[in-house]
């Protein structure tokens, strides 16, 4: 393998890395090799151990076994600071930025080489030099919390360059970006590798692997399963290596058969928690027997949208009509009583009570009515009976109905929520990121449930960041940007590029 690397030498080598977490062997004697001037993609499903391996290289975790060589010499990396000394820097999925501070302050945070009395003027001009060189478009004086996610990511990259990083580790960098922003990131990374720097990319998206990388290493359940040159492989082959079987990219579904309008929004406006306008006049309608997808980069008003419909967020202007009745600013209970179900985006915080049993969580919507309640007193026997039925029909894998729901895996927590919400749903299902963080099998079953609800004559509002999911599951797709709908398209006619443009704030051309 090394023979055709005459000029290029391995800048990073990880040999036999093993890391044990309580109950999980996250990395099992994994090897890694990164050449200077190249991009390595680290591919794998959720929980395959990609992030763990990179956190070890970046100094956040320590390996139980194995060693790391930098430029051929054994390196002792015990902290992010050590890693930086070897020129290794990581852009984490949750950015490591202090929201209330400026770009310049974040860039020099923790740097001992700066003067004790900070010269932010000097720092700013150095930042401008770097951002001009890489065409990064970052204002050193901006405050982080006021910047978009894409801009924040550029700050992270700039911070690493400022500190002299030679090896850039990017953990799922495009998850929060529009397709256009992803292209821009690709350009920046290419420019850097052209200058002899190198990069490692953690991802589970095939198209990105093909587009960004020179080499691919595939992890499966903590083990390295294959190493290939990107040009010698295909997305199909990669996905087989990743999950160990062929994956359905399209979900089978019948043609939609829309009925009466079940949800209508008329010029709805709402504020976010910071007091800024989050919804700037949203109008659309959704029919029974139809799935309307809401696309967009997270934070463009999707959360507020689902919450004004479910009664959790105040509408300042406009009307929300559910099943022909005006439900504007009605309480969540009234909305629930009108047959609306909600799968919240933060399923652990809003979807379940972790310390309560699976059975009680399943009963949380129906408990007000007979047969679960009689004369205001709960009937535990009936709750258990109902729970057992739901557990078997939704295939929730739990040791017992009375196990605390927090001990279940993410996929089974989501199934618990689905079982409860679908059971209680009679008109409208509002689902926010229902498949986020789930493995392939769980994702498939969640998507099938959405379609089953549609075929059962209910309206489904599906909020997602995954364009593939939206295009395969929903019938129409509305794209949100900064609190507005940029356009609504039939998913049969939608293509990623035009959706991406709308996500970036370009309205759909008229007459289409």
């Amino acid at each position: 393998m090394k023979n055709d690397q005459n000029e290029k030498y391995p800048i990073v080598e990880m040999i036999g890395i093993t890391k044990q977490f309580p109950g999980v062997l996250a990395n099992d004697t994994v090897d890694l090799e990164l050449f200077s001037g190249e991009v390595l993609a680290l591919l794998g499903e959720n929980g395959a151990g990609k992030s763990t391996l990179m956190n070890i290289l970046a100094g956040l975790y320590r390996a139980d076994k194995g060693k790391i060589l930098i430029k051929g010499e054994e390196a002792e990396i015990n902290s992010p600071k050590d890693a930086m000394k070897y020129g290794i820097g990581m852009v984490h999925q949750n950015f490591k930025l202090v929201p209330t501070m400026s770009v310049a302050e974040n860039v020099v945070l923790g740097l001992d080489s700066e003067n004790f009395v900070l010269d932010l003027q000097k720092v700013s001009s150095r930042i401008k030099e770097i951002s001009n060189h890489y065409n990064l478009k970052v204002d050193p004086g901006s405050i982080i919390w006021q910047m978009s996610v894409g801009e924040q990511q550029r700050v992270e990259i700039l911070k690493l360059i400022y500190r002299g990083a030679e090896v850039l580790i990017l953990d799922e960098p495009t998850a929060v970006l529009t397709p256009q922003e992803s292209g821009e990131l690709n350009r920046i990374v290419k420019q850097m590798t052209g200058e002899g720097k190198s990069a490692i990319f953690i991802t589970h998206k095939m198209d990105e692997v093909m587009e960004f990388s020179d080499w691919v290493r595939v992890l499966q359940k903590g083990k390295l399963v294959s190493v290939v040159r990107t040009q010698d492989t295909s997305p199909k082959e990669l996905s087989r290596m990743m999950v160990g079987r062929d994956v359905l990219f399209r979900v089978e579904k019948k043609k939609a058969n829309p009925g009466e309008v079940v949800l209508e929004l008329e010029n709805v406006k709402a504020m976010n928690d910071k007091g800024l306008e989050a919804l700037k006049g949203i109008s659309f309608s959704l029919r029974r027997g139809e799935i309307l997808g809401i696309a967009g980069v997270a934070g463009n008003g999707q959360r507020e949208l689902t919450e004004v419909i479910t009664g959790l967020h105040k509408v300042t202007e406009g009307r929300v009509i559910i099943g022909g009745k005006d439900m504007t600013n009605k309480s969540p209970l009234e909305v629930i009583k009108s047959g609306v179900s909600h799968i919240p985006s933060d399923r652990v915080a809003m979807g379940i009570v972790g310390d309560m049993s699976v059975a009680n969580n399943l009963a949380m919507k129906e408990y007000r009515k007979a047969p679960l309640t009689q004369h205001g007193i709960l009937n535990p026997g009936r709750i258990l009976e109902m729970a057992k039925k739901m557990i078997s029909s939704f295939m929730i894998s739990t040791p017992a109905p009375y196990t605390s729901v927090k001990f279940l895996s993410g996929g089974n927590i989501q199934k618990t929520i689905l079982a409860r919400e679908i059971g209680a749903c009679s008109t409208l299902l509002v689902a926010a990121y229902p498949a986020r963080g789930l493995d392939v099998g769980a994702t498939e079953s969640v998507r099938k449930e959405m379609i089953a609800e549609r075929d059962g004559g209910k309206g489904v509002l599906l909020v997602s960041e995954d364009l593939e999911e939206l295009m395969s599951v929903s019938d129409r797709i509305a794209v949100m940007n900064e609190g507005r709908i940029m356009g609504i398209v039939d998913s049969a006619e939608a293509d990623i590029e035009s959706l991406g443009l709308m996500m970036a704030g370009v309205p759909m051309e008229k007459g289409k």
Binding site: S79, L97, L109, G110
Partner: protein, 317 residues
């Protein structure tokens, strides 16, 4: 009239000094993400230890050092419980206040000379006296600024220094980052626990100095509850100053001023009942807190350090 204003200003500064020491101390502690509700107890312990020291040795400097050491010991306990043991900071702080209040009172009955039945109450010791600064102290009204004791003059220096350190130095940047986002600070190679220890103990030292100012200058001597709830008022002042040391002065002067005016009114023999006047600082505290909370809901960014009172643990699974 001028004489009246000058005297109100003089009392305001004298009453405000201990508040400013404690406020700046607590601002630094809270900026690191540690909430220390032990202020009242630490101020009382600072006051009693300072007075006992000055009574027996006559040395004001030694009294200050002993008070500071008391602050170091008490805040170290709080630091250990809330940083290393990750205990609930409210509980830990309150227990330090309960302990400090009781123990200070106990010491006040045991540390005195036998001739006074071992009581410290009613004794007279050495105290800080105003030092006139030539020329400046002769200014009308403002002269009161330059006829204060040394501890007040130090305050004039501490406020800008504390502001500069927090906003213009590398260490200040690290401190703010630790209180806002310990995860980020940790990833940037800052030792979160070390920073929190340093500023919890530094804060405690300043708080105890605030207590010492009470027993060595403002109301020389020792009486039970000499702080009169100042430790609690300081908690409100920290919020009032929005965790910015340069704004600590306004809150402290406001409350010092209310004290001064209340004394003046009582001296003139007003018909307003004395208990009602005594309530004034506390009523204003409540009003200020309500006001600040209201402002905070209007504009999210007044805010307390994001990680205040949240123990930090590195996110290994």
């Amino acid at each position: 009239m001028i004489a009246l204003l000058a005297s109100i200003l003089a009392i305001t500064l004298r009453a405000g000094t201990s508040l400013i020491y404690a406020t700046i101390g607590e601002i630094y502690t809270e900026r690191s993400g540690i909430l220390n509700l032990g202020l009242e107890g630490m101020m009382l312990m600072g006051a009693v230890s300072a007075f006992a020291t000055v009574y027996y040795t006559g040395s004001l400097l030694l009294a200050l050092l002993v008070a500071m050491l008391t602050g170091v010991v008490l805040s170290s306990i709080h630091a250990f419980l809330s940083i290393t043991m990750r205990a609930n900071q409210v509980v830990s702080g309150l227990s330090i206040t309960l302990f400090g209040t009781g123990f200070a009172s106990f010491l006040g009955q045991r540390l005195g000379p036998e001739s006074n039945g071992h009581y410290l109450i009613g004794l007279i010791g050495n105290k800080f006296t105003p030092v006139k600064i030539p020329f400046l102290s002769n200014l009308p009204v403002l002269g009161a600024l330059f006829n204060q004791d040394i501890l007040t003059y130090i305050v004039y220096l501490i406020i800008p220094a504390a502001w500069f350190f927090m906003y213009k130095t590398r260490a200040g940047l690290n401190l703010r980052a630790v209180g806002e986002s310990p995860q980020t600070a940790d990833a940037m190679g800052i030792n979160v626990s070390k920073v929190r220890y340093i500023y919890t103990i530094l804060g405690g030292t300043l708080v105890a100095l605030g207590g010492a100012h009470l027993s060595l200058s403002y109301a020389p001597g020792w009486t039970d509850n000499i702080t009169g709830g100042r430790g609690w008022i300081v908690i409100a002042l920290v919020i009032f100053s929005m965790w910015n040391p340069s704004r600590a002065i306004w809150g402290a002067l406001l409350f010092g001023g209310i004290n001064a005016i209340q004394f003046r009114l009582q001296a003139t023999g007003t018909t307003i009942s004395a208990p009602l006047l005594n309530m004034l600082p506390y009523i204003v505290t409540i009003v200020v807190l309500v006001l600040m909370t209201w402002i905070e809901t209007m504009n999210k960014k007044v805010g307390a350090p994001e990680a205040l009172a949240v123990p930090y643990m590195r996110g290994e699974k």
